[in-house]
């Protein structure tokens, strides 16, 4: 049984079809990439999958449960976590607080326990702290735990965004251009990290990316969008050689770039 089932997902903005009949069936542990030209509707799909936009039609089912009509925070609580194209960290908070913030709905302390700082609350707080610390350690950020997120280097910020999403204990992770603005070495690190997420945590990953050097080796399946419609779907090889994809997205010089790089 698939973990996420998206059927005929469509959305219109002022009569304009931004996404039209998008279908996706995700197996647990899959890494899927959505590629396509700018304005093809990729981020819009992410926004529908996280409840920011309500689709005009179609269905989203997570483990057989429909998520339509829920608020964004409820999508997150159900287990769909995401990162953002333009990094959206809690910039003025420390690294560890960023991670702990994502655990809010799982914290059990009540309001009065909090403002009077009861022993129970302190104990609970310590557990959360340890949990966050474990995650940071796993992603090589533990030495930075107490510095402000905005003072992290760019690559580390991207990493922190993923760590923060993991604190939600998600089933599905959506990565929106995770390697934008990264150089090759950083790009390789990220690819390794995404694979580990799948292998060690069993996470299912959907990613949007223009960097073909990153997408092609990592994705189990690739969906190509243009003007809101799916124009191709398949493995990296299939997609790369699809004439429609080359015409609409990859372009003629693409092979040249990717082989040299």
């Amino acid at each position: 049984m698939s973990i996420l089932e998206i059927k005929n997902l469509s959305i219109e903005f002022g009569g304009l079809k931004a996404v039209d009949d998008f279908n996706l069936s995700l197996e647990e542990g899959e890494i899927i990439a959505i590629i396509g030209p700018n304005g093809a509707g990729k981020t819009t799909i992410f926004n529908m999958l996280t409840g920011i936009y309500a689709p005009t039609k179609g269905s989203i089912e997570l483990n057989g449960e429909s998520l339509l009509g829920l608020k964004p925070y409820q999508f997150a609580q159900k287990g769909i976590a995401r990162t953002f194209q333009n990094i959206r960290l809690f910039a003025a908070s420390t690294v560890i607080d960023n991670v702990k913030m994502a655990y809010t709905h799982q914290c059990k302390e009540s309001f009065f326990e909090c403002i009077f700082r009861t022993p129970k609350m302190v104990e609970e707080e310590r557990k959360i702290d340890e949990r966050a610390m474990d995650l940071l350690k796993a992603f090589d950020l533990e030495s930075k735990a107490d510095i402000l997120a905005k003072n992290l280097p760019y690559g580390a910020q991207r990493r922190l965004e993923i760590v923060r999403a993991l604190m939600l204990e998600p089933k599905i992770l959506l990565l929106d251009e995770p390697v934008a603005g990264m150089i090759t070495t950083e790009l390789d690190d990220m690819a390794k990290m995404v694979r580990e997420l799948r292998d060690k945590l069993g996470l299912t990953v959907i990613l949007i990316e223009h960097h073909m050097n990153f997408v092609m080796p990592i994705a189990d399946r690739i969906k190509v969008l243009n003007f809101g419609e799916t124009i191709a779907e398949g493995s990296a090889d299939e997609v790369q050689n699809n004439p429609d994809v080359i015409a609409a997205y990859l372009g003629g010089g693409y092979k040249n770039v990717i082989t040299n790089a």
Binding site: G39, M182, T184, T185, G251, G253, V257
Partner: protein, 238 residues
């Protein structure tokens, strides 16, 4: 014989407590395309922003065609002949394409020149002509990048600073944009290019500087850098 157009010496820039650029020197000759490559946070954008006057240098000098730019206000620098296409396009979203382009010609007084430049821009970007009455905010990323380039062309600058023109764009569009960048260069505009995609940058530029944490670590001809082991390992992924 090409002559020296831009000469940056020991440039240092800091934001508050953090020094983003720690003493960088490089230069560019008339007609050249020079690339600055490096990881995010290496200080590339800061250098461009300092050249165009959006940031103030802490020390060092920037000579452009014999003029010192470090003390000049940004709008004067545009008049001196520098056109900066900023990172993330930064078109004016609630103005039409044409209004955006006309703002590019803000420093020009003569109508005939404005008209001439507009025609030339439309010739370079036929897409913009089709969309001239559309609000810039409704354009796709690729179109916005074209508009940003077109707007810079309208200023009539002799040196164009390009900050990540390929960022977030589909490969096919990137190809298009870089073809146009070369065209612009061939028509006589010098270009200082920042590009994440080091391979693309080195293919486009004649010379390049590699920046690491606010300092220049490697410099040389593009063809040499393409073969350089350090560059290949960190930036080209070979």
């Amino acid at each position: 014989m090409s002559s020296r157009m831009l000469d940056v010496k020991d440039l240092a820039v800091s934001y508050g407590m953090i020094t983003a650029v720690k003493g960088v020197s490089f230069n560019l000759d008339e007609g050249e395309i020079v690339a600055l490559i490096g990881a995010n946070g290496a200080g590339k954008s800061t250098i461009l922003r300092t050249i165009s006057g959006l940031e103030r240098a802490k020390s060092g000098s920037i000579q452009f065609l014999g003029k010192e730019l470090t003390k000049m206000p940004a709008h004067k620098i545009v008049e001196a002949g520098i056109a900066h296409v900023p990172e993330g396009r930064r078109v004016f979203p609630r103005l039409t394409v044409k209004e955006n382009l006309m703002l590019g010609a803000n420093i020009v007084k003569e109508r005939s020149i404005i008209q001439q430049r507009l025609e030339r821009t439309y010739l370079t970007f036929p897409r913009l002509k089709e969309r001239q009455a559309q609000l810039a905010g409704t354009l796709s990323g690729g179109e916005q990048q074209m508009l940003a380039l077109g707007r810079a062309l309208m200023t009539g600058g002799k040196l164009m600073l390009l900050d990540e023109p390929s960022m977030g764009l589909a490969p096919i569009i990137v190809e298009d944009i870089f073809r146009i960048i070369k065209e612009i260069n061939e028509a006589g505009t010098s270009i200082l290019l920042i590009e994440q995609n080091a391979f693309l940058a080195l293919q486009t530029a004649s010379r390049a500087y590699v920046l690491e944490t606010g300092l220049i670590s490697i410099e040389g001809k593009s063809s040499d850098l393409l073969k350089d082991d350090r560059v290949r390992e960190s930036y080209l992924g070979a």
